[in-house]
């Protein structure tokens, strides 16, 4: 089997996330592999670990130069090969542009390596957090998508997932080739071992620009964007609220405050 996992490089949520003067996300700050995509990598590796006939795991990212770190981390975890789509004209892509790029990249991987049976993605990126790219890519590739999997089983050319909703759990089946997005409930991502880190240095890592993907610069990036930022305002620091220390009346004081706000 061949699995491609989508791994996004995102600004560190613990650092100062800001915007550039052109209203695009400032990607010069420290970044990392989006934590939610670690679950996608882990799930692919689990399938590979359990497959005696051999499963190849390819980690794919679309992003600026630094984004290669997301692929490297995936290689350190155990992915076999990395693909980095990097092109200046991709800057300021909207979700549609990113999806088009990822879909085109999957096609190139298929030309180079052979058929891709399964695409595994995270639930959402930790910066954009739209949760729409996975279904969009599936649509562009004409493949079924089984999203929000908290359990995945692949056998006999079928992917079976469980997704846990508010009022019910659903069991869903899709025929391969397919795309599956996974939640953080699905597994416990492994840490790269020292051996893994060393081995990653020798693993193949291909880089493509958009021309090599057969995409036109007008379809992606700022030129192809389907949305546009009109205004951007940094939220004024929240005016410090009232903080009291409980000296026996804390609960009552809380209710008085709620009453003053007409919340009870």
């Amino acid at each position: 089997m061949r699995i491609v996992t989508f791994v996004k490089y995102v600004p560190d949520a613990a650092g100062d996330r800001t915007f550039e003067s052109d209203n695009t996300v400032d990607r010069s700050v420290d970044g990392l592999l989006s934590e939610l995509d670690e679950y996608a990598v882990e799930e692919a590796l689990k399938i590979a670990d359990g497959d005696k006939k051999g499963t190849e795991v390819i980690a794919l990212t679309v992003g600026p130069d630094d984004a290669v770190d997301a692929v490297r981390k995936s290689l350190q975890m155990g992915a076999n090969k990395g693909v980095h789509i990097c092109d200046d004209s991709l800057e300021a892509s909207c979700a549609v542009g990113t999806a088009k790029t990822l879909a085109a990249a999957v096609k190139v991987v298929e030309e180079e390596e052979g058929p891709v049976d399964l695409i595994i993605t995270g639930l959402s990126s930790t910066d954009g957090a739209m949760s729409v790219v996975p279904v969009m890519v599936a649509e562009l590739l004409g493949r079924p998508a089984a999203t929000q999997a908290s359990h995945l089983e692949v056998a006999g050319g079928v992917a079976k997932i469980r997704r846990d909703g508010d009022t019910a759990s659903q069991y869903v089946e899709v025929p391969l080739p397919a795309l599956v997005s996974v939640t953080d409930q699905i597994n416990e991502p492994r840490y790269p071992s020292f051996k893994g880190i060393m081995a990653a240095k020798r693993k193949p890592l291909d880089e493509y620009d958009i021309e090599e993907l057969g995409l036109d610069a007008g379809e992606v990036g700022a030129a192809g964007a389907t949305t546009e930022v009109v205004t951007l305002t940094e939220r004024p620091p929240r005016t410090a609220g009232e903080v009291i220390t409980d000296e026996g009346e804390g609960g009552n004081q809380l209710v008085e405050w709620l009453a003053s706000k007409k919340l009870v």
């Binding site: 739209m130 279904v135 508010d166 009109v230 609220g241 609960g251």
Partner: protein, 316 residues
């Protein structure tokens, strides 16, 4: 006036509050048409209620495929309606399903999509809160039909009379849309509390509960609130994942959010920072949640919560 399509969120015909909020937002932008996907009789029954919030038309689309498969058939229908009716814009609830339907419809119709909006203004300019509330962004769709997913509790639903003329839509989903088959469904026992993302009040518990959610639930019930949890509480199996608030759980924007024994990690804040009023109860005065709180109590939740619960019940 131009038509604004609103995707109705309902459970067996019971229309969710977020739909009325979408209708109110749509009314400010044009003439609301509600799209009810589901059982025909339930759709007709729901029409009156949709009319009370300004729906001029109610399109009812029924097909067994809508229940048997994931979002494919619904998205195909929405895309078809966008192409044939050419609405000025489309509003959907920013639920996981709503966003997927919107994303697919965007690709199928060559449109742009904006998700998790906290409001929409004239010209379909959407307001979004990003980077855990650090920035407020106003954006618009520049290609195709604007498709905007709005977060529940962002717009106050206002009654407005609409004709609610029912029109049934006949559309047969393609085989390609019928690929992700739902083979079984296991219902979860109902908690009897309001739905988390829609509730006007949410009381959440974290690691500080030590696994005892009784005081959190008692306060929630006194306030008529939904119960939420931090990931630490969910990971410890103290509360179900469906109650998790945060980046990898639910995003909530209630009138009142009460965080009990929750430190306020960035990933938790990402899910609750747009709440109108935030209250925190935490033993540690240094806890970052106090930076967000409109009212904070430094204290033990096991004494503060029961006292507050009693005081609320005494006022009733």
């Amino acid at each position: 006036m131009s038509e604004v399509l609103v995707l109705v969120d309902h459970v067996d015909g019971d229309v969710r509050k977020s739909t009325f909020e979408l209708l109110t937002a749509a009314k400010a932008l044009g003439e609301p048409t509600a799209l009810f996907i589901g059982d025909a009789a339930q759709g007709e029954a729901a029409a009156a209620k949709l009319g009370e919030y300004g729906a001029e038309k109610v399109l009812v689309a029924s097909d067994p495929a809508y229940d048997e498969f994931l979002v494919g058939p619904k998205a195909e229908l929405l895309a078809e309606l966008i192409s044939t009716r050419q609405p000025a814009g489309v509003l959907v609830p920013a639920s996981a399903e709503g966003k997927e339907i919107a994303g697919l419809a965007a690709i199928k119709t060559g449109s742009g999509i904006l998700t998790d909006a906290t409001g929409v203004a004239e010209g379909f300019v959407a307001t979004q809160s990003v980077f855990a509330g650090g920035y407020t962004v106003e954006s618009k769709v520049t290609r195709g039909t604007p498709i905007i997913a709005i977060k529940p509790n962002s717009v106050a639903a206002e009654p407005a009379a609409g004709a609610a003329a029912v029109e049934s839509v006949s559309f047969a989903p393609s085989d390609a849309a019928k690929a992700a088959r739902i083979t079984a469904t296991e219902e979860k026992p109902a908690s009897g509390r309001p739905q988390l993302t829609e509730a006007a009040t949410v009381v959440s518990g974290g690691r500080g509960t030590g696994g005892d959610f009784a005081p959190v639930e008692a306060l929630a019930d006194a306030l008529g609130a939904a119960v939420g949890a931090s990931r630490a509480a969910v990971d410890a199996d103290w509360y179900p994942h469906s109650a998790q608030v945060g980046q990898t759980g639910k995003t909530v924007s209630p009138q009142l959010y009460v965080a009990c024994g929750i430190s306020g990690a960035i990933q938790h804040r990402a899910g609750m920072q747009t709440s109108k009023n935030i209250v925190a109860i935490n033993k540690d005065e240094e806890a970052p949640i106090f930076e967000l709180a409109d009212f904070g109590v430094v204290g033990d939740l096991f004494t503060v919560l029961p006292q507050a619960t009693d005081a609320i019940n005494a006022r009733k």
